[in-house]
Symmetry: C3
Subunit: 166 residues, 3 copies
Amino acid sequence: MSDTEIRLARLEARLQALQDHVAVCQVIARYGPQADTADTYDRGLKVGALWAADGVYELAEGWAGQGPDGIAGLLDNDVHRALVRDGAAHIPSAPHVTLRGDQATAINYSRVYKHVDGAFVVWRVSVNHWTLTRTDGGWKVQRRVNRLLNGSDEARAVLRAIDQAA
Amino acid sequence: MSDTEIRLARLEARLQALQDHVAVCQVIARYGPQADTADTYDRGLKVGALWAADGVYELAEGWAGQGPDGIAGLLDNDVHRALVRDGAAHIPSAPHVTLRGDQATAINYSRVYKHVDGAFVVWRVSVNHWTLTRTDGGWKVQRRVNRLLNGSDEARAVLRAIDQAA
Amino acid sequence: MSDTEIRLARLEARLQALQDHVAVCQVIARYGPQADTADTYDRGLKVGALWAADGVYELAEGWAGQGPDGIAGLLDNDVHRALVRDGAAHIPSAPHVTLRGDQATAINYSRVYKHVDGAFVVWRVSVNHWTLTRTDGGWKVQRRVNRLLNGSDEARAVLRAIDQAA
């Protein structure tokens, strides 16, 4: 290849990596607004659409949904509908992202605030370990593990995933 | 065009989009530190400078400011000055951004924490729908709609703007 | 230089700036998960590794650590170990970043949530002024000044650093 072609190819690869980084952040930023309006199974499917066809959302050991419909099902309950009705916010922190070709991992925090008696309560503070995969429909969540930061060994194990993040 | 010129033009367009994405995030990240030091009308003008000349900040139905001076006026009141004096933090979440040439929209959450009797209280948790425009002075806010997440239909309508976000 | 060479050089410089911006955000995003698992001096060194060899973390006037080992020492105390044991989250907001060649500054908020009696308490809300430097080992923190947003003049002075941020 000519010098120009080498430089073009390098630029294209570096730019692709930046676009992937931003795209992963955008998927994560969509979750909150979709979740905070998911007061029906159909709207829950819009949350589920962030996941790959066989993607998993694991909220705690033994409590998980798989695939867009499984994730819509996870949110289709009275507790979640009350959050949407009374006012709530699922707010992510800006993630740390590691790209490996068509796979990515991300680590971030999330909080659920809920509106109770005219005030806001910090209901849940969690850490998330995301695995995402590039698909024909863009980046999708392959697995999201969420653990409440309640002092459990499990929560610290998810936080320590940062040690392996490039 | 030659193959090289085509690749250069594509790279330039993709890079511009990434720069625009980052620039929009930077405008949003400036709001908090400017607002949390706006204890005079003049310092409120520094907040207002984030908006376009005819840009609007709509804090609730019927409560809005227009243009840099209108936004400085919105903050020029005893409640806001007490926040700055006693300690407060207007903290945005990382936004979801959609670019359309010289226009952009962004959706994010924001919280206002205030310092009361030596402790911190979560005073407001809101959703924001931003419209930004490219100007000679860089990206400016054309409209920011902020709604408290108190369970109102209006707040859910702002959150549902994510459905139209590319 | 040819027109092609000029365009390639411009693209390379713009891309480098975007990569630097993202790299600075990634350093800041690593702090929380490292701090929230730093229950030994050795794990505190992983937090310290985010700093340059002579980098400073100033938590309050007269309370600071220098270098990776100094920062590990800052966290090596009963208060911090209790946070890690009982559950805590050091959560940053998405920073505003200003690049100047091999130096960068960033301004953001941070909060410490702690888990107390099965609930989450917002314990600290602060502003941070980061100075980072490019090293052979990537971007490192040269200085982080953290001030509690308790209404002090010092805290407002750190927030006002946004006025100088490009």
